[in-house]
């Protein structure tokens, strides 16, 4: 491959593969990033920002590590409660970052999925009824890391 360097540089000048011209591929790559990398991606340029606003990317991220993804009937509920990006930020990310240090590959079962969806409902209603996660009676502490 090394002797190709000169030829490759020539090729580069002619027709470099422009990722932004291949949105379908770009989406496939973005789908495979973890949460923080998606956040970084949003800051790259306007196109990437627009793409990262797509809730389906965050939906994929939320349930990527789940052994059996929740049924599609869940989707309209999550969207009504605030969308997958919020679900990730409020319920999934805190737990994942806490578990990041474990050696085994992280796989969620149905129970963990149910729990995070329940907490998401709690989050929604607390916001609606006023107070939210900062209020003293909020249940959202359940998302926080626990020092045992």
């Amino acid at each position: 491959m090394r002797q190709m360097k000169v030829e490759e540089k020539e090729k580069e000048k002619k027709a470099k593969f422009q990722m932004n011209d291949h949105i379908d591929i770009l989406i496939e790559v973005l789908k495979r990033l973890d949460g923080p990398s998606l956040g970084v991606a949003a800051c790259v340029c306007r196109l990437w920002c627009t793409l990262t606003r797509s809730d389906s990317l965050w939906e994929h991220l939320c349930f990527r590590h789940v052994s059996s993804p929740p049924p599609s009937s869940v989707r309209p509920v999550v969207v009504a409660l605030g969308g997958y990006k919020r679900l990730y930020m409020v319920c999934v990310r805190p737990v994942l970052s806490r578990l990041r240090n474990s050696d085994s590959e992280l796989v969620w079962t149905r129970d963990e999925v149910q729990l995070s969806l329940s907490l998401f409902c709690v989050d929604y209603y607390e916001r609606r009824l006023g107070g939210g996660a900062t209020s003293a009676s909020s249940l959202m502490f359940l998302c926080n890391p626990v020092n045992v």
Partner: protein
Amino acid sequence: MSNTSENPKPSSSSAKMTLKTSDNELFEVEEAVAMKFCTVKQYFEDEKDSDVAARGSTTVIPLPNVHSAVLATLISYGKKLPQSNAVADNHEEEETKKKERKKYEQGLLKNLMPGELLDLISAANYLDFKEGLEFFNQALADHIQNKSVEYVRKFFGIKNDYEPHEEEKYREEYAWAFEGVDED
């Protein structure tokens, strides 16, 4: 497992096809592997419709958008995939093959320059090589994981089209994402 040729060719037990790259190199590839490139498959099937005698003869399929170095890698990867016409393996054989493939994949990625990834993806996209695209897209995602905004822009040659205050706004919105990012 189908042995479809009425006149079996004495030279090889499996049909081969010839692919011609942008730099005029010829690659002889087993049909089973070449058929994983859906663009080639389509071309082949179109040829077959127009001229029955062409099947099995030296039809050269031109790939003007693919360089030989890139095609070599894609063919090599395609050979490692489970072949659709192969005899079904028992569970043990399947596991062994899986491990071999994993080892091969790791070796492949280790020797790959990041820039070459884009060429491979571009070619796999042109050839409509689904398994290859899946693999190299994952490799690319793994590569830019945890990297900084500047690195990503430079890597893809993307121009920053944000106004400064816009970029500031988004960086603030995603401040949580920037913890633990690799420095360039």
